[in-house]
Amino acid sequence: MASPEQPRDHNGPQPSRFELPSVFTWVVLVGFLAFFIQGITAVDVEGARLIAGIGNMGDFISRAVPPDLSRLGPISGYMLETLNMAIVGVAFGVILSVPLALLSSRNTTPHPVVRVVARGVTAVLRTVPELIWALIFVAAVGLGPLAGILAIIMDTIGFCARFFAERIEEIRAGPSEAIQSTGGGRGAVIFGAILPEAMPSMTATSLFGVEKAIRSAVILGLVGAGGIGVELSSAMSLFRYDVALTIIMVIVAVVVVVETVSSAIRRRIM
């Protein structure tokens, strides 16, 4: 007899040392590999083209440096427009996201069917890329920042309404029940407990929304939806790489500042 401290000898089957991947894992892996190989061959990654690319990059850099700072004034103006588009778009997007999120959360929706519909709307807004929204709105309202703002609103709703709803669904039920049990109605529960409890997380999500929107707003200019993107694409096509570099530097500086400020705020509220 083994003493209680000693491990006993087991004669039965041992637990396996390695877990074999499941059939599902195999299917996913093989599928991924197939796509990967097909992709590599389809874009024919050629050594020669990559080497030529390095040469062209050198050419770009030599033409871009030193950056042409003489157009810094107008470029800053376009950057400001980009920033405006992002802020205005996010502000409206966030305001519209709150009711949509309340409709799509299990604990606040008036009816399960409403929830499904609201979730569907959010999913569509999220799935369509912002560049496609921009193309649609340029066609609808014409070139300029208005199209960009509308595109950013759509994109922000897709992003914020989803995360707001997820947060609202995981809020603890206690405070809501406390308000209900004093005789408070649906409105009191939402304004009194649910929105206050979700507020820090919703603010953080909105700040992510701002960061995301600034990057989108830069890109949206490329299809004529306002902002600095137009300037960048015309500088590139006129081979004014020194101007392009100035634009890129301004963009990077603004994005870095916005992200720093936004993460500082987030750290304070969370």
């Binding site: 308000i179 049990s181 004093t182 005789g183 408070g184 009191a188």
Partner: protein
């Protein structure tokens, strides 16, 4: 006069038959203690009593209104008369203590905005401060609720009940997460408030000492039934101890009742 009258309550969650014909009554101004082991159905009963859960069968009359079957409008009326104190306080953590107390006034106002701290009337604001003074936390009025200790948070919850001015208070393990000193403070406060305001109280506890010291009446539950129901001076520690022995949990005890149950509306 009977304030709370619970008759033949049945409640199931899926296969688990949680409440199996619970019956008792509590007269006006009585401080009753509800005892029973973990999982015997105490919280479920409490939730049924203010309509947070609906039983499938039976009646729960609070001042004559049957909470088990009444419509939403009547239910809100009853809830205004019934204050709740929860084990985990259920304050809105990132709002001020003052705002949390003001929420008690929802019992008197239709609109949420008349209980929001910036918009509330002078009278309600003064009264909220008065309620905080009664739980000795007026100096914390502007602090965030979640920055207070557990004992303080429960005192804020009691101030919220005072603000509500109900005639009935249901307290579900109000001191279960507090240290012995804070627990005694909260018990003293809760009972003195209830006595002073002439409220009727049903309070779940896990401490027999507290139960025997404070309770006027004891209602003991075991596996979904009421096992003990008598004035505190007619019971003894052995009888209360027996509530925690044998098959006590409803999810481990098969139900013998086979009566067909009416569906909850």
């Amino acid at each position: 006069m009977t304030v709370i009258q619970v008759g033949n309550i049945h409640k199931r969650f899926g296969k688990v038959h949680v409440l199996r014909g619970v019956e008792f009554r509590i007269p006006e101004r009585e401080g009753a203690v509800l005892l029973g082991a973990n999982g015997c159905g105490k919280s479920t009963l409490m939730r049924c009593m203010n309509g947070l859960a609906r039983p499938e069968q039976g009646s729960i009359r609070v001042h004559g209104t049957d909470v088990a079957t009444c419509g939403q409008r009547k239910l809100r009326g009853v809830r205004r008369q019934v204050g709740m104190v929860f084990q985990n306080f259920n304050l809105v953590g990132n709002l001020s203590v003052f705002q949390n107390v003001l929420y008690g006034a929802l019992a008197r106002h239709r609109s949420f905005f008349s209980v929001a701290a910036p918009l509330a009337s002078r009278e309600e604001r003064d009264y909220a401060l008065h309620c905080l003074e009664r739980v000795q936390l007026a100096h914390c009025a502007d602090q965030r609720a979640d920055q207070l200790s557990g004992g303080q948070q429960q005192r804020v919850a009691i101030a919220r009940v005072l603000m509500q001015r109900p005639s009935v208070v249901l307290a579900d393990e109000p001191v279960a997460s507090l240290d012995p000193k804070a627990a005694r403070e909260v018990m003293n406060l809760l009972w003195s408030v209830v006595r002073a305001e002439g409220m009727t109280l049903l309070c779940t506890l896990h401490q027999l000492d507290f139960a025997m010291e404070y309770g006027d009446r004891v209602i003991g539950m075991k596996a979904g039934h009421v096992q003990v129901d008598r004035p505190m001076h007619q019971t003894d520690r052995n009888e209360l101890q027996s509530l925690y022995e044998g098959n006590v949990r409803v999810d481990e005890t098969p139900s013998e009742s086979t009566t067909p149950l009416r569906k909850a509306s």
